[in-house]
């Protein structure tokens, strides 16, 4: 989590601007300045408005107007105060350029750096993810409130107004403060490294995009202080126009979130189009990059529409415009057209990056090239383009022009085709792979299961006569949750587990990860599957109370929803604990080809020492000799280190003892394969992580598969292999000793464990079919008996004359 930068730069980079004089915490970019500037600008603007109103003979205080200015300026004040604009401001007023141009706020060295404005895309990515998960938890608790109220018929815990607010704020937070920015966060961390860039194209804009997010979230959450918005996240006029004061908070929240979204999307577009490493043509981009390219285009084109629609609502509320007021020539249905022109593409915005993540995870964890790379990439773009032609399928019963329904049904149906192509291609990717069912892979496979259901229920809703019946029922609630939870949230989980080692430099706990997956998968389906039936039976969505004939099913759903919510705690604990104390992650734990896995975990401050050279497909798993990219790493000059064997040779007996006890003891058990390359590589990999010493034992079983055994010849051959191995290890600077033991390997290992306990055991054998040890379950028996980590290395090239 820390030390992205070489330590020798750390104190230089912390100098503040100019002459190195550190300004007071009140004046430099900080939380203190953010607090007072936010309060001052917000209250100042509100006060000014009230003064003007008073002077012009109106009632000074009016909810809508005053709160609008308060929120707008408090939000801007926060971003200014925290320091998002410092560089630009200095540039505008002609302040001398800081000595360390660009790098003064780049990269995180201590945990506190994550709470400051930072221009490093990796820090921003982590900031995004942590922030969005905070809002995910808040939004989730609101959903649990909804389920508590619906657990039994009648009104128990909330008034109808509060109930309506619960699901409205729930959806608003989940969409605008969780799914969309969580993908922006993952993309922020991963995309620049994936394409071989040092950072995003506009790092300062990137920081500003992030810091808009907490402002947007605070607007939405704090609407509970004034009477929360309760017209649903769709916020249809005229209900929203007549709604409580919290409406203003929603509108301003959408504006901040929308600005953040657009700025990030522009940043991604420019980064992806202009900053790819040499050799990375469009057809060599990883599919996550394709997905982000398509998503960002949608965001840039679509988001202004929701911003506009919400401003129109706000103007109707506070400025006396009549956009949606039929008594003054306004039109109510127009709102929905503008709103859905963004909000349908928003479904793609919330889904396409997930598709990209799934493509990465499935290929890497099944050790196979992605099936039909080009068709998947093309279908991503197709979904994006078609996404702009289907908005009115949300409005089949809205009273819009009736002729528009059938064309919109055909375009909607058309989207099923590229979506189907993706699903079939993903399943085909698994076929004949070597599937490692790690937590990210489980989430990816779980996603395939749930997303097929979400996709198929979408076809029901596209068929107009069926939609006329199902729209606004719980069938729709089930459908959107299968798409946005079973789809987006599952892919976010898959992505976070997959890149967690890269982001934090530590491994997550696989057992807890799997527990989290199974709890989420089972209780997600148990919660949302029955909602399909409720909807078909005629239970409307967004109702605080319902006829008692649905009591049983609703009660079961609520219980499952509570368990689903609790399963998140397992995830949070796993993430927090693993980040703090997890096992150190290697650079490439998944043996992936894409560029982000070719740098250290966590990556160095500017990702690459030299721009990497992309030479092939990112998914050529199983292709002998295939490479995606050539990465050059500059090894910094190291202080002269004395190899351990040399040091031991020079040491006094007491020094020798001290050196030996500081080394991690590895026990290697091998016979015929003792000189095999994979074994020596496995030992070297450990030596690279920790200082180690190695004991090699070669148990000589009775080689019973020959008719005539010349024991002395066998022993001589073994001795020669053992000596060669020890020499190779010592040559690599590893302290190694070894001997031939004349007994069963199991008891031989137990002897060593007793006399000189190792930290780890490596057993090397021939492949299963030809290994006598494996036939006797040596590895399992040792694991059971010793409780030590036992690694099994398979050597498939019997070293010379093994059958002598």
């Amino acid at each position: 989590m820390v030390a992205h930068a070489p330590e020798l730069h750390a104190h230089d980079l912390h100098d503040d601007h100019g002459g190195g004089r550190k300004r007071s915490v009140w004046l430099r970019g900080s939380w203190v300045r953010a607090a007072w500037l936010s309060a001052a600008l917000g209250l100042g603007a509100a006060g000014l408005v009230m003064l003007i109103r008073h002077l012009s003979g109106r009632v000074a205080y009016s909810d809508g107007v005053v709160q609008t200015f308060l929120l707008l300026f408090a939000g801007i004040g926060f971003t200014v105060g925290i320091g998002c604009f410092d560089y630009w401001w200095g540039y505008i007023i002609g302040r001398p350029t800081p000595a360390h141009e660009d790098h003064s706020s780049h990269g995180a060295r201590v945990w506190k750096d994550y709470f400051k404005v930072n221009t490093d895309h990796k820090v921003i990515g982590v900031q995004y993810l942590v922030t969005t998960f905070i809002f995910f938890i808040i939004g989730g608790m609101l959903a649990e409130g909804v389920r508590a109220e619906l657990a039994t018929p009648g009104l128990q815990y909330f008034s109808p107004a509060t109930y309506n607010a619960l699901f409205s704020v729930h959806a608003a937070l989940m969409i605008f403060l969780f799914v969309i920015p969580a993908f922006a966060g993952l993309g922020n961390f991963v995309i620049p490294i994936m394409i071989g860039a040092q950072d995003m194209a506009f790092p300062r804009l990137n920081a500003l995009s992030y810091w808009m997010l907490p402002v947007a979230g605070m607007c939405m959450v704090s609407s509970f202080l004034v009477g929360p918005f309760d017209a649903g996240w769709t916020n249809y006029a005229t209900l929203s126009v007549h709604g409580p004061p919290g409406q203003t908070f929603w509108v301003m929240g959408v504006q901040f979130a929308g600005f953040s979204s657009i700025a990030t999307a522009v940043n991604f577009l420019v980064t992806i189009v202009t900053m790819r490493a040499p050799g990375m043509g469009f057809w060599r981009m990883p599919l996550l990059v394709w997905a982000n390219l398509a998503t960002s285009t949608l965001v840039v084109l679509g988001t202004p529409f929701i911003a506009g629609s919400q401003f129109m609502v706000l103007f109707d509320r506070i400025m006396g415009t009549h956009f949606f007021d039929p008594t003054h020539g306004g039109n109510v249905v127009v709102y929905q057209h503008i709103f859905w022109f963004y909000s349908h593409p928003a479904v793609s915005i919330m889904m396409l990056p997930g598709f990209g993540i799934i493509s990465e995870v499935l290929a890497i964890h099944s050790r196979k090239p992605i099936f039909g790379y080009k068709l998947i990439a093309i279908s991503t773009v197709a979904i994006g383009v078609l996404g702009f032609t289907v908005w009115a399928h949300h409005m089949f019963t809205s009273g819009m022009a009736p002729w528009l329904r059938v064309p919109m049904m055909f375009t909607t149906m058309a989207i099923a085709v590229p979506t189907g192509i993706k699903i079939f291609s993903w399943v085909a990717t698994l076929w004949r792979g070597v599937i490692h069912l790690t937590t990210p892979m489980l989430f990816a496979c779980g996603f395939l299961f749930t997303f097929v259901i979400g996709g198929l229920s979408g076809i029901f809703l596209a068929v107009i006569p069926v939609d006329i019946n199902l729209t606004d029922t719980y069938f729709v609630v089930a459908h959107i949750h299968y798409v946005l939870f079973g789809g987006s949230v599952f892919t976010i989980y898959a992505g976070i587990y997959h890149w967690f080692p890269k982001m934090t430099g530590r491994m997550y706990d696989e057992g807890l990860g799997k527990l989290h997956f199974w709890l989420t998968f089972v209780f997600f389906n148990a919660t949302f599957m029955p909602m399909h039936w409720l909807g078909m039976e005629g239970m409307m969505r967004r109702i605080a109370d319902y006829p008692s004939k649905w009591a049983d099913l609703n009660f079961i759903i609520s219980i499952c929803a509570f368990v689903l919510g609790a399963s998140t705690l397992v995830f949070i604990y796993n993430m927090a604990h693993s980040w703090w104390k997890g096992a150190p992650a290697p650079a490439n734990p998944w043996r992936a080809l894409t560029l982000e896995w070719q740098v250290t975990s966590p990556p160095p401050i500017f990702n690459f020492d030299e721009p990497p050279q992309v030479v092939g497909s990112p998914y050529a798993y199983g292709v002998p000799g295939a490479r995606h990219a050539i990465v050059t790493v500059h090894v910094p000059p190291q202080p002269e280190e004395i190899p351990v064997p040399v040091a031991l040779a020079q040491a006094t007996p007491t020094q020798r003892e001290a050196i030996m006890s500081a080394l991690k003891h590895i026990l290697v058990v091998a016979n015929q394969t003792v000189a095999g390359e994979p074994l020596i590589a496995a030992v070297r990999a450990r030596a690279a992580a920790d200082p180690i010493r190695v004991t090699v034992i070669c148990p000589q079983n009775d080689p019973s598969d020959s008719w005539v055994v010349d024991e002395s010849a066998v022993e001589a051959a073994t001795r020669a292999r053992l000596d060669a191995t020890l020499a190779a290890l010592r040559g690599a600077g590893i302290e190694a000793s070894g001997h031939i033991v004349d007994r069963d390997p199991f008891t031989a290992v137990l002897d060593v464990v007793e006399s000189d306990p190792p930290a780890e055991i490596i057993i090397s054998t021939l492949p299963h079919t030809r290994s006598g040890w494996m036939r006797r379950d040596l590895v399992e028996r040792l694991r059971d008996r010793t409780s030590l980590p036992v690694e099994h290395v398979v050597v498939d090239e019997p070293s010379e004359s093994s059958r002598a």
């Binding site: 008034s159 050790r367 019963t397 078909m536 798993y621």
Partner: protein
Amino acid sequence: MRPVSAFAKVGLIALVVGAIGGIGAWLWLPDWLPPAAGVEAHRQDTLYLWLLVTSSVIFAVVVSFLGYSMWKFRARPGDMSDGAPIHGHTGLEIIWTVVPIVIVLAFAVAATVVLNRNESLKHGHMVVDVTGKQFAWSFTYPKRGHLHTGILVLPKGRQVEFRLHAPPTDVIHSFKIPALRVGEDVVPGTPTTVVATPTRLGTYAIVCAELCGIGHSQMRNILVVMKPADFARWLVAQKKLAAAPPPSSGGATDAAATFKSAGCSGCHTFTPAGSNGTIGPNLNNLAADATKYGGGETAAQYVRESITDPGKVVVTGYADGIMPATFGTSLTSAQIDALSTYLLKGGG
């Protein structure tokens, strides 16, 4: 095992599972949907059925291959090998592009046909005007002397065109009858229509499907489908009731009708009127409450004020701004007086 035969085997399993799922869908669908009570509903249910069968097969195919792969091709501990370097298969990719195109086109065409049939108006259809407002439905039969009713009654076997209205100052509602599988938004300022042909006798729920505010879940009503002869008798009885001169004192019958048609019953509990809403205060002990909250006013004054200016006194535990402030203009003074008397007398 040779991969080709495995592929065929899983494909076969998938089709069998899909077929079982499809047959299951066929058998259970009637339980999942309310009984179809109209011509349109039957047409839609045919679409449902085929959607369910097709979805079951597609789902089974995907999940069979997914599950088989996860089991069969899972990595054994320590297996560091790679999978088969298969980059694609043009034939397969063409198949899974073309087959879905055919399927969705078939559904889109079928849906268009059903939609056109469901919405084509026959000669001699009946017209009912539906008004939705926060939080009540009311109905007018324009060709039956503008008979105004608090519930919807229709004859069996007759096509009906519902013309939907909401007052321009109101919000969007959605008029929905699940048993008839029809629904359409009721949009302030924009009249909309929806067509249905009830064919099954019985009483069915009418609900509001579009979030319309705090009384959304209470905005319910009923549809009664009668034999045509019964419907004719019901119409005569209703007309008689409507034509009868209102009792000079503002009789209880009239006031009870006002209580329903103005939407009071959507929010207030008042046992004599059979309402049990919980959005607004309970009116069963209004005379006592009027003394408690009236602050010196007479009970009648207090009740009248509470109807015309509901924000003036807000009963503890209830929010301001929820009850419409428009009853002073939408109801006549006589109606308000009658209502006030009716409520204070506990329905007497």
